[in-house]
Subunit: 240 residues, 2 copies
């Protein structure tokens, strides 16, 4: 491997370097944990992964150097989060690829309890997932606001719906307005991209749903059930 570098070699080396960041179980656990879109401290991640703080510190160094994580120092804390939506999508895609067959197996009661809260509704980086995310996506599709049969895009009626609901769709950079994200509990695509993020933010801001516990799970409020029913015709039963 000592020959002069060709373009092809450089691409392969870059790909290998990127993949190696996720090729360690502890770093993979960090990436999955950070998929909730929030910033974690190094200590929280160390406890979550059950490794020494020193070990995790080295992992964070690599993930930050590799561009997958962004860090923010506050006092004696080191907060890290996924660098951007691109990275989040990549981790999601990788996790979705591995999921087939691995996710469903008997769990203990306590875990299945937490699991079912996650399955009901959760955030996936910056948008809604779980049965909640699917229900919203399906409702948008059924009402002709989102088109899934020929790809994945909002319709003109969909654009108007977001406007009427008072949900602004700012477009920063080249991020797509609507994108499909494979839901790993439901095994079906839910709405991601700018529209998914705006909808999730609005749902949290307007009190349609609230975060429960310190994890990614969210719970739909009564006001949220009313709003989703009125605006999208979502059945309350689809959220349980």
């Amino acid at each position: 491997m000592l020959g002069r570098m060709t373009t092809k070699d450089a691409r392969a080396a870059g790909l290998a370097r990127l993949a190696s960041l996720a090729a360690d179980e502890t770093r993979a656990a960090c990436l999955l944990a950070l998929l909730d879109g929030r910033a974690w401290t190094a200590g929280e991640l160390a406890r979550h992964c059950r490794v020494a703080a020193s070990t995790l510190s080295e992992h964070l160094g690599k993930l930050v150097a590799g561009g997958l994580l962004a860090e923010e120092r506050q006092g004696r804390h080191r907060y890290v989060r996924l660098a951007d939506a691109r990275v989040a999508q990549l981790v999601e895609d990788l996790a979705a690829q591995v999921a087939p067959g691995a996710a469903e197996r008997p769990r203990t009661l306590r875990q299945s309890g937490a699991g079912s809260a996650m399955a009901r509704g959760r955030t996936c980086y910056d948008h809604l997932a779980g049965r909640l995310g699917i229900a919203v996506t399906d409702a948008l599709t059924a009402r002709g606001l989102l088109r899934q049969d020929t790809g994945f895009a909002l319709t003109d009626a969909g654009l108007r719906w977001f406007g009427a609901a008072g949900i602004a769709l700012d477009r920063p950079g080249r991020r797509p307005l609507a994108r499909a994200c494979l839901d790993w509990t439901e095994r079906r695509p839910h709405l991601a991209g700018v529209a998914g993020a705006a909808l999730c933010r609005h749902a949290l801001d307007a009190g349609w749903c609230v975060r429960i516990g310190s994890e990614r799970a969210v719970k739909v409020t009564e006001a949220g059930e009313r709003a989703l029913s009125e605006l999208l015709g979502v059945e309350a039963a689809a959220l349980r």
Copy 2:
């Protein structure tokens, strides 16, 4: 890491195992080479990667066992190809993530020659890429056949266009009809998914373009220029 397995640990372990398949430079080079969508023999890949046949044999074993590659034995040859479109998309996504900034650098004349043929037109697994792929995608968009502003989906007019052109859009399984694939030379999305694959196959079958050399590059024929101009209004200048 000896505690009882939780669901979370299993997900992280699976993600790490998947990523580790691409975390080696030789295996990464194999995956990138196989992105042309064709089947390579083990020996071809070994020469391509400049490693001993025995080394490459072990790599292929891991990639096949990991589900990334499908193999087919014919006589004393072992042909391998990417397992399916999902895997191809994953490799593309990973490669696109690493590309920013790494792809453009001065090359030798010979390499830049090969590079410019690749940049003009090539296959990306099973669809068209390079300036050719972008030109087609842009033409579809300009004619209102493909919608990119609110996501990525064919329009009803687009569905009719495929029908009128005699290009069948069979939908095997859950693969999306239209999907955006980031072009690593043009840095913009081109058409992938069922429609992209059907269009590419039709272009090759109808002689709109032909493969040149033994690599991924393709060349638009005169008949292809006429057809693309008539059917989509693609300017010949956009293909050079």
